[in-house]
């Protein structure tokens, strides 16, 4: 009897091919390459982005000609020269700060210009609200009348804390009280416009309303005046806290008002633990704070908020729309030629470039629908547009259209997988077609719907081009959701992380300062999308468990 084992002869290349092993290798290699690329890209973004917040040493550079500079080493570049003497030239980039003195934060130095570099202990970095960082030496502190030297670091901490407290008070008043009063005054203004345009009222009635409004306005204005007075008081207090005497690397001395200081730190004195704590502090600031200095400093909270709000709103619109469409296509219409055409069109919509959706959104949503709403309901406010301009509502509807095909297709896939027996079983018990859908089928396809939503979120969170036309701005003063009734303002414009990357990276005046922020924002965007996806996936997996049945 022939043996069951393979002989040497059979273990040949043809046998290998017969097993299909060569395909396994090809596929595995392809997957490996993809993984490497993805990990590489994400790794690059994360390292560069999150590395931005790490405290670097500040070096003191002595040039050949004796001048001293203070700065953080950022980058090194080698360039090839035609010089016979040396093959390449090295250039080193330093962040030297003190923009009000040197007009640029960053400066390139020739490698051979530099005689030596040291890392003095006394170097202080002062983050300021204007003009960026200052690098230098603190000689003394004047605070609330008293003078403190460098041997009393506690005093500096106390002073900065006091400044911080005042700032917070100012911030609260500005955001809450002033914001509210402004909003109320605006409402009164709109009300007045409305009355003016209302033709059903006669002069006497109108005057009565005007009088009421005037009365209200007066009260609010008075309140506003009070708040402003207090605010001014605080501002004055802030200005008068004191100042720090600061010596730059060229021995120029200046005074930096305490009120302008965000924070002070001594980088060369900080050990790993200090730096780690500082890192998290800066990271937290990045996520929570508003931006400063034309988006080159501070945090990006409004962009995060805008992105998340946009995605949530889009999900809110696309889910019912997609489900209902899919159910209609599969359950209610006759499966004839027309339905097939519709289905093909839906599938092809997924391939339309997103900028086309942006243009469509602008034309249809913003101008046509927004314009109509303005004419019908807000005519008193014209020619100022209320809804007839790009805003959150139109942006989310545009993205809804963009991701609709994905949701429809996934839902239809889910519907296809439901065995006919389940439907018949329900009908045989006396349910109507709608009851079958509502009670049995929709719960059963919820995992597929969630898949559709996951894909929709993934697509929408990364789109930037259409949003630029329908609602995203570089800097938005208010958030779409705030404490003023009606609390959700869909007629406002908003900030978006994707757009922020584009704007900061390519539209900002200070390229070197912007670069690390671009990476940081990109890393954050990836992280948020990941978070949204993981949440949805967990929900979907729970639903799958529940309805695991089918397989």
């Amino acid at each position: 009897m022939p043996s069951l084992k393979q002989t040497e002869q059979t273990r040949s290349w043809s046998q290998w091919k017969k097993n299909g092993e060569h395909w396994v290798w090809v596929n595995a290699s392809a997957v490996a390459i993809c993984l490497i690329m993805v990990i590489g890209l994400i790794g690059l973004i994360v390292v560069r982005g999150l590395g931005h917040f790490w405290v670097n040493d500040v070096q003191q550079i002595q040039l050949q000609n004796g001048t001293l500079w203070l700065g953080e080493q950022i980058d090194t570049e080698k360039s090839i020269t035609n010089d016979a003497k040396q093959k390449s030239k090295t250039q080193i980039l330093y962040k030297v700060g003190n923009r009000e003195e040197y007009s640029l934060d960053f400066k390139w130095f020739d490698g051979e210009q530099i005689k030596n570099t040291t890392k003095p202990e006394w170097v202080a970095v002062i983050e300021r609200y204007e003009w960026g960082n200052a690098y230098g030496k603190i000689t003394n502190l004047h605070w609330q009348g008293k003078t403190y030297g460098i041997n009393e670091p506690q005093a500096l901490d106390n002073a900065l804390q006091a400044v911080q407290n005042i700032r917070e008070k100012i911030h609260t008043i500005e955001k809450n009280d002033i914001g509210r009063t402004n909003y109320q005054l605006n409402e009164i203004r709109l009300e007045r416009k409305k009355i003016k345009a209302d033709n059903s009222l006669n002069e006497i009635q109108k005057n009565k309303f005007y009088a009421q409004l005037y009365h209200k306005e007066k009260k609010i204005s008075a309140h506003y005046q009070e708040i402003k007075k207090e605010l001014d008081k605080h501002h004055k207090k802030l200005e008068e806290q004191g100042y720090v005497t600061f010596v730059l690397s060229d021995n120029k001395s200046k005074q930096i008002n305490l009120g302008h200081i965000v924070r002070v730190y001594f980088p060369n004195q900080m050990d790993v633990v200090d730096r780690t704590l500082f890192y998290f502090e800066k990271l937290w600031e990045f996520i929570i704070e508003d931006p400063r200095e034309a988006n080159t400093e501070g945090g990006i909270f409004p962009a995060i908020f805008g992105t998340v709000a946009l995605v949530m709103l889009m999900t809110l619109f696309v889910t019912p729309l997609g489900i209902i469409t899919a159910i209609y296509l599969r359950e209610y219409t006759r499966q004839g030629l027309i339905v097939r055409i519709i289905r093909i069109s839906v599938n092809n919509l997924a391939g339309v470039p997103s900028i086309v959706y942006g243009v469509f959104g602008l034309g249809f949503f913003v101008y046509f629908m927004g314009g109509s709403i303005d004419e019908l309901f807000y005519s008193f406010n014209l020619p100022s547009p209320t809804f007839g301009s790009p805003n959150m509502l139109w942006a989310s509807l545009t993205l809804t259209l963009l991701t609709l095909p994905v949701v429809i297709v996934s839902t239809e896939e889910g519907l296809n997988r439901i065995p006919r027996a389940i439907r018949e079983g329900s009908l045989a018990l006396g349910s109507t077609k709608f009851e079958v859908l509502w009670r049995i089928i929709i719960p059963m396809i919820s995992p597929s719907i969630m898949t559709g939503i996951i894909l929709a979120i993934a697509r929408a969170a990364g789109e930037v081009a259409p949003l630029m036309l329908v609602g995203v701005v570089k800097l938005a003063p208010d958030l779409v959701i705030d404490g003023n009734a009606p609390f959700i303002h869909l007629d406002r414009q908003f900030m978006h992380l994707g757009f922020h990357i584009f704007d900061v990276g390519f539209q900002s005046p200070n390229i070197e300062a912007a670069q690390p922020l671009v990476y940081a924002t990109a890393a954050l965007l990836i992280f948020i999308i990941l978070l949204l996806n993981i949440t949805t996936i967990i929900i979907r997996n729970n639903l799958r468990e529940k309805y695991k049945a089918l397989e």
């Binding site: 079983g425 329900s426 018990l429 059963m444």
Partner: protein, 253 residues
């Protein structure tokens, strides 16, 4: 047959498009007895069965002629509410098809559709239905478990419980044990013999021994026609028609 009649068909015809599937069927199904439909594949028994609760309405190109009466009502009368009809005439399919819900919710489904919400009422009816389907003892302590954790035979009994929870008058069983192992099959057959005390049962089966064991009356259908209808004992000992004899002895079909 002096027994009162639950279902009557008069010259019943059914067509799929142009193809005649059921030809001029006249049958009287006695109340509270088990009637079996037997016949070779494609003879129309399942199609015929589904006419009794109008499940064939779901298929697109079906056209029907004739009358089917449930007691004294024409079930194809346009004024008939199909939901009410289907709760009066329950249908159990060949492959058990419980919903992916808990055991309790499966049985309560029909009741919820009727609009019943009272918790106690639901619980009582579910318990009663499961007891009558001979499933209570096996599941009473895990009513909230997913119905798909039950075995095939238990699932089929669950489906039967689900059908009887809405207290129908007639139970239609379309090859209810084809997908089950022999032991579960026998359990279901026992159940059927119990059910006939309260419901009229019509069962379609490929298995002639099953028809012989379980039914009081048997109808032999061939190519859409009713060849013979009689008491089961007579059909299986001395059938009148040669076609019937040939089929049940295995000479064709």
């Amino acid at each position: 047959m002096a027994a009162p009649i639950a279902l009557t068909t008069k010259n019943w015809c059914l067509k799929y498009g142009k193809t005649e599937a059921l030809k001029n069927l006249n049958i009287e199904i006695p109340e509270k007895k088990v009637t079996a439909f037997i016949g070779p594949s494609g003879c129309g028994k399942s199609t015929f069965l589904r006419c009794f609760n109008r499940m064939n309405d779901l298929i697109d190109n079906v056209s029907v002629e004739g009358k089917i009466m449930l007691y004294d009502e024409d079930i194809y009368d346009p004024r008939v509410d199909i939901s009410i009809l289907r709760q009066s005439v329950g249908l159990v399919f060949q492959k058990p098809n419980p919903f992916p819900k808990s055991i309790f919710e499966n049985v309560a489904y029909g009741l919820r559709i009727q609009g019943k919400k009272n918790k106690t009422e639901l619980q009582d009816t579910v318990e009663w239905a499961l007891k009558n389907a001979n499933l209570w003892n096996e599941v009473h302590n895990r009513l909230n478990d997913n119905s798909l954790s039950l075995s095939g035979g238990q699932q089929q009994r669950l489906v039967i419980a689900r059908a009887i929870a809405v207290k129908p008058q007639v139970m239609l069983l379309d090859e209810p044990t084809s997908a089950l192992d022999p032991l579960s099959t026998l359990k279901i057959e026992e159940l059927i013999l119990q059910l006939k005390q309260d419901y009229t049962v019509v069962i379609v089966t490929h298995n002639m021994q099953q028809a012989a064991r379980v039914s009081d009356y048997t109808a032999f259908l061939y190519l859409g026609e009713l060849i013979e209808f009689n008491e089961t004992t007579k059909i299986f000992s001395t059938p009148k028609e040669k076609q019937t004899e040939d089929y049940i002895t295995g000479r064709f079909g």
